[in-house]
Amino acid sequence: MTSPSENPLLQTERVTIRFGGLTAVSGLDLQIGRNELIGLIGPNGAGKTTVFNLITGVYQPTEGTILFDGQSITGCKAYRITARGIARTFQNIRLFSSLTVFDNVRTAFHLHLQGDVRHALWRGRAFWAEEKAIATQVLELLEIFHLEKFRAAPAKSLSYGDQRRLEIVRALAARPRLLLLDEPAAGMNSSEKTDLMRLIQFIKGKFQISVLLVEHDMQVVMGICERIAVLDYGVKIAEGRPDEVRRNPKVIEAYLGEERTHDA
């Protein structure tokens, strides 16, 4: 079993969440190292997205603590967690549909504004300089994902795959240190998936960030993740290098069912 660095970027300690009688995630211990690309996989309903919602503050854990860069973010509001340096994408795309591609990304620059509402109202030299600097950075980000040609188009007019890429751009614009991608390749064909995975590896290196990737399709994550954690019914059943995880009988059982049924 590979262990992350001594000083993990994100660490969850016995994180549990219950919705009424249902325990969606149970006693999860997960560590994400710095500049690490880790995959979180599991069958449908295993609790992968719930883990995302716990880390990003959409849900508050019933038990356990979440540490980011050594400090507890348990109980913090979602927008504060983003300000600390965790950005995410959504499984069911959540773009700002009435805004253009350009404005979607620009909205995420909100966090790094020097000026406040007075700048926006006075519209002086400082305001325009800042808006211009932001615009340049937005275009740079869009270019990485080949979306700059759509910059003036409404976000909802993009194709499904482009909308997913735009979500990643928007998350990157928040300048995170940890990027959470929730099934970024859903609905893409296999060549698009391969391209996207290469791109994820590229941005990880370029921006020096850690990436936690949720994926339903095991083949996709096997290729790029350094480490994989497997979730089933809210419990982590395996963790390790992709080849280790692939051979793990518990994982095979979770995905394919018990071996006995195949023997018959």
Partner: protein, 327 residues
């Protein structure tokens, strides 16, 4: 629209309204009254558009904020007798600001508890709030209760009305055309995603309510000093609905459209009134074909609104908003 010369435009609008107000003596007083109503409705509709249109928080309590501002300003100016033109102007401006500020405080008080509510629930709570405000004034003897309150100073003029309207338009437009203010639209489009992008959605919603209420309060003060008589029933639920209709008709989150809708919806009932009133003009035959308009004026108005909503549910005016790109 890059909105780059906005400050110049605002200055020009202020100067123009000042210039027109100097020649207001030559304008028919009925026409002036309708013009003031147009200006006041523009302020109300554009400020409500920040709450309902851009931020997506469906509020039905705008008349409540208007009442707070109107009564506050009227009570202040009523303390003073005859003043010279300059002092009267300064007093009026101060009273308008005070009315706006008190309305903004009310907006804060309404905004805070209602933030957990969305859609229909928020609409019902704001509607209830508007009615509470009205009932409070209806039972407040110091402001005449149900008998109404006479406003001694007819201070509203072209400059104050359209100057305030210009400032309202400037503030709302400047807010939403900035990286800071695009947060309002983000909150409307997807609250969860907005939070995930680091936007404090609570702060944005309260800001929208406070700014919207402030200008509604100013509009209330202008209304009070134009009509010079306030009754609580003037700020009832129907008044809130009338402002909401302007926003919906103009297109939610479309300031130019909302301005045009405010103008049209102020003129429409007045135009119908004029149509009905033609027989009383000298020289018109008794067999006037539009006499029926008199009794059915408001029915025609309602039918027109229904027709518009059926044919243009997205608002009368929609045009593409071009993004601001780096030069």
């Amino acid at each position: 629209m890059t909105f780059k010369h906005a400050k110049l435009l605002l200055l020009a609008a202020l100067l123009l309204s000042l210039l027109i107000s100097l020649f207001a003596g030559r304008i028919n007083s009925y026409v002036l009254f309708v013009l003031y109503a147009i200006g006041i409705n523009i302020i109300l509709a554009v400020s409500l558009n920040l709450i309902n249109g851009y931020t997506g928080q469906f509020s039905l309590g705008h008349a409540g904020f208007m009442a707070v501002g109107g009564y506050t300003a009227a009570v202040i100016t009523n303390q003073f007798g005859d003043l010279n033109a300059f002092a009267a102007g300064a007093l009026f401006f101060g009273a308008l600001l005070a009315g706006g500020l008190l309305a903004a405080v009310t907006g804060l008080l309404v905004g805070l508890p209602t933030l957990r509510l969305r859609g229909d629930y928020l609409a019902i709570v704001t509607l209830g709030f508007g009615e509470i405000i009205r009932v409070i004034f209806q039972n407040m003897n110091a402001v005449g209760a149900a008998r109404g309150l006479s406003v001694m100073h007819g201070s509203t003029n072209f400059f104050w009305t359209f100057g305030t309207a210009a400032v309202t338009i400037y503030v709302v437009t400047a807010l939403v055309h900035s990286t800071y203010g695009r947060g309002f639209i983000a909150v409307r489009d997807d609250e969860v995603a907005a939070e995930a992008m680091g936007i404090n959605t609570t702060k944005y919603k309260v800001t929208a309510f406070v700014v919207g209420a402030f200008f509604a309060g100013m509009a209330g003060g202008l209304y009070a000093h134009s009509i010079q008589f306030l009754t609580p029933s003037g700020f009832n639920f129907m008044q809130s609905i009338a402002i909401v209709v302007m926003v919906i008709l103009g297109g939610m989150g479309n300031t130019p459209g909302v301005i045009i809708a405010a103008i049209l919806l102020t003129l429409l009932p007045e135009g119908l009134r004029w149509l009905a009133g033609i027989p009383s003009l000298p020289g018109i035959a008794k067999a006037y074909p539009f006499a029926w308009v008199g009794n059915t004026r408001m029915i025609i108005y309602s039918l027109l609104l229904i027709g518009l909503m059926l044919t243009r549910p997205q608002g009368l005016f929609t045009w593409k908003r071009r993004p601001i790109l780096p030069a």
